[in-house]
């Protein structure tokens, strides 16, 4: 009888402990699965976050290059927009670290105000009518270390450099027209350098004030060529100073030249 009880107790213990073990196994399996899902989700999130920064860095590099190109020369007012469009189309970049790599290509974007979700690019994200706007085509590839989590996307983003390009070009070309009509108004006295100088000084003063009120700096240089055909040539230079670029403050300048001739009788 005692032997049977002992066997029964052993069997009962086996059943109880087996139930506990099975329950524990189910719980452990569920927790392990949750752990695996969480680890994959965390790796995906980490890769995504790093990709956001790499994308922003790639675009920043492109804007740095564009800033260098725009600040190192003086553009022609009548051709500035086309020149910048051509210049932008030559800019490319490749960056990458921490397993994420990005290639980008720049081009000019239409003048319109559009928000962009590359938030890590503040304040250059999105385009705005009246600024120098660009489009960036990016390809991004990445892989989390020791994991099967990978990322591969092609994206297009809109960015800007705060050069007030249309306003600057317009100020420049309108100023050239004003100087031209002023010089044409003095007619045959074009051969008189003093009169030319006083005319340009007078016009230049009001043009400089108008440009300054728009946030630009304007200067006019000129020369006269006396002779049978008296001529005066001049150049209007308009600059926007202290533009907050990704590399720090810079200056953008554009100029336009013209000439007036007077054939004496």
């Amino acid at each position: 009888m005692a032997g049977r009880r002992a066997v029964g107790a052993s069997l009962a213990a086996a059943v109880i402990f087996s139930s506990v073990l099975i329950s524990n196994f189910i719980l452990v399996s569920a927790e392990r699965q949750k752990f695996e899902f969480t680890s994959i989700a965390a790796e995906e999130r980490g890769l995504y976050d790093q990709a956001v920064v790499v994308k922003a860095a790639a675009i920043t590099d492109l804007l740095d290059k564009m800033q260098d190109s725009l600040s190192s020369r003086t553009f022609q007012c009548s051709d500035a927009t086309t020149a910048i469009t051509l210049l932008a189309s030559t800019e490319k970049v490749d960056v990458g670290w921490e397993g994420v790599f990005s290639s980008g290509k720049l081009s000019a974007a239409p003048q319109q105000t559009i928000q962009d979700d590359v938030l890590a690019l503040a304040p250059f994200n999105g385009t705005a009518a009246g600024l120098a706007d660009f489009e960036v085509r990016l390809s991004v590839d990445g892989k989390a270390p020791d994991s099967s989590v990978a990322l591969g996307v092609n994206e297009t983003h809109l960015v800007n450099l705060p050069i007030r390009l249309p306003a600057l070009v317009s100020t420049c070309l309108q100023s050239v027209d004003v100087v031209l009509s002023g010089l044409e108004g003095i007619g045959g006295q074009l051969c008189n350098a003093t009169i030319v100088e006083s005319t340009i000084t007078s016009i230049g003063s009001s043009l400089r004030s108008a440009a300054a009120s728009s946030g630009f700096s304007l200067s006019i240089s000129y020369s006269t060529v006396p002779g049978t055909a008296c001529a005066a040539s001049f150049t209007v230079l308009v600059s926007q100073y202290s533009i907050d670029g990704p590399e720090g403050p810079f200056t953008f300048s554009a100029s336009e030249s013209a000439e007036v001739q007077w054939y004496s009788a």
Binding site: N24, A42, L121
Partner: protein, 120 residues
């Protein structure tokens, strides 16, 4: 006979207890919590980078980066950085949930670090 029964029952019990210790769901649960905390720290750093903008990190000085990041530290999260090898503060304590985010732009290399200083 009784000795055998007691031995068998003891072996079953000990095996079961050993299995419970070895197959402890707590270690996986704790691992999941750690991943979630680290992902949350990673998101917090991305929010900081989005607010300041990657271009700012490119030309900001070491001291201005450190000062700005210290404003993002609070009672539960500490945010710091290593800028071109120079650390703003002491590194995260060993074992604390932490996350890193690297910004490599222009000539600047900034390693952002965030770690938890107290439990939620």
């Amino acid at each position: 006979m009784r000795f055998v029964d007691v031995s068998v029952a003891a072996i079953i019990g000990m095996t079961a207890l050993a299995s419970l210790v070895a197959w402890n769901p707590y270690s996986f649960e704790e691992g999941s919590r750690l991943y979630l905390r680290e992902a949350s720290l990673q998101d917090y750093m991305t929010t900081i980078v989005a607010a300041e903008g990657v271009p700012w990190f490119q030309h900001a000085s070491f001291s201005s980066i450190c000062n700005r990041l210290s404003q993002y530290s609070n009672s539960t999260v500490e945010v710091s950085a290593v800028v071109d090898g120079l650390a703003c503060s002491t590194p995260p304590p060993r074992g604390a949930p932490s996350a890193n985010l690297t910004i490599d732009v222009g000539s600047a290399r900034v390693l952002l670090q965030a770690w938890q200083v107290a439990g939620p």
